[in-house]
Symmetry: C2
Subunit: 199 residues, 2 copies
C-alpha cells in the first residue's frame, strides 16, 4: 500500500522508495517482540559522531505495557492522537546533548535522526509502517518520562501494520491518498556552491 | 568488504547491516552521474517535519568540479584529509534552522541526519561506500561555501568505491580492520520509562 512518488528523479532501493508515513494502522495487529527488536537493532547500527550513539528511545508497547503507551499517546498533539490511537507501539526518540565524556555534542539531534529513520526503514523491510511526529508536547514528555536535562525529546514514532485508508476518519482519507511530493531536487542539492541547483 | 558486527542482537536488512564507514577508497573509480543522482534521490525522499526538507547538500565531485572538491577537502580535519583525499566525491550537509515559512525549525538537524543516512544507504545498495565526518572546520565551511546564517554545516560525506585496507597508510589499517561494536542495546533503548533497559 505504498504511495506513488509523483516527481521521482531516479530509481532508489525499495525500502527507501516505499517507506512513507501513513495514518491508517491496524489496531488489532500487535508488533511481535522479535520484530520490534530488529527495528531497534537497525537504529542501533546507525553511524554517529565519535561512535557515541547519542539516541535514546523509550519504547511504549501497548501489548506489554499499556500504561506507558497511554501516557505517550496523551502527549501527542490532539490531531495526531486521532489516528495514532490505533498504532500498537509508540516510541519517544530523544537526543543526548552531550557525549558520554560530558562534552557538548552538537551532532546529538542529527545522529538521532539517523537512528530514527534506520528504525523506520527496518520496519518497512519487515512489512510494517511507521510515522514520525514532531507534533507532541515536549515539556510534558520530559515530565512524564523523566527525561533529564541533557536529552531533548525530538519525535514520537508510531509503529504498526498499515490498514486501508477507508478505516480512517473521513477528514484524514484525502491526505492518506494524496500523491507524495518533494521539492525539485535542485532546491536542496547544490553543485559545488550554495544555491546552484545540481539538476 | 563489509565488517563483522560483533555484538549484533537481531538480523537486519543487508543495506542497514552492511553499511559502515571505511577509510580506504579507490581514488581511480569516479562515481557516475546516475549513481550520484540515485543517492541524492534517496536523501530527497527522507521524511521531515511538516515536509519541509530542511537539508541542503553541496556536492563536490572531483571528476566534474575539482576546484570545489579541493576546497571541501581542505577544510576537513587533517587526520580525515589523509584518507579522504582518495574519495572521488565529497558532500557538505547543512541543516536549515528555519522552516520555509521563516519560523524556527527545531527539527532541521534531526531531519538532515535522516536525509544523510538515506543517501548513504542508497550508496550501500549500489555497491558504494560512504563515510560521514563531523571532523571539519565549520566556520571555514561557512565562509568557503557561502553558507547563510540560517543553515548549519553538520557533516561532510565521503563517497566512492571501497578499496582494500592494505591501500591505507599503516596507521589506519588496524582501525579499518577492527570489529564493529555498539553499546549494549539496553544502554540506548528503554522500556516504557527513562533508563529501564529494554533487553
Amino acid at each position: 500500500m505504498s504511495q506513488i512518488r509523483s516527481n521521482s528523479e531516479a530509481e532508489i532501493h525499495p525500502i527507501l522508495a516505499n517507506r512513507w508515513s501513513p495514518r491508517a494502522f491496524a489496531a488489532d495487529k500487535p508488533v511481535g517482540r522479535e520484530t520490534l527488536l530488529a527495528c531497534m537493532e537497525a537504529a542501533r547500527w546507525a553511524p554517529s559522531c565519535f561512535g557515541d550513539e547519542p539516541w535514546r528511545f523509550i519504547v511504549c508497547d501497548k501489548a506489554s505495557d499499556a500504561a506507558s503507551w497511554e501516557k505517550l499517546l496523551a502527549i501527542l498533539a490532539p490531531k495526531n492522537q486521532e489516528w495514532a490511537k490505533n498504532t500498537p507501539v509508540l516510541l519517544l526518540v530523544c537526543a543526548s546533548t552531550q557525549f558520554r565524556s560530558g562534552k557538548p555534542n552538537r551532532w546529538g539531534e542529527y545522529d538521532s535522526g539517523q537512528a530514527a529513520i534506520s528504525f523506520c526503514l527496518q520496519a518497512e523491510a519487515l512489512g510494517l509502517a511507521s510515522h514520525q511526529m514532531g507534533g507532541f508536547d515536549s515539556d510534558a514528555a520530559r515530565k512524564t518520562f523523566a527525561i533529564p536535562n541533557d536529552a531533548t525529546p525530538m519525535a514520537v514514532i508510531a509503529l504498526g501494520y498499515q490498514a486501508a485508508a477507508a478505516k480512517l476518519d473521513e477528514g484524514f482519507q484525502s491526505i492518506e491518498l494524496a500523491e507524495r511530493k518533494r521539492q525539485p531536487i535542485g532546491s536542496c542539492f547544490f553543485a559545488g556552491t550554495w544555491k546552484k541547483p545540481i539538476a
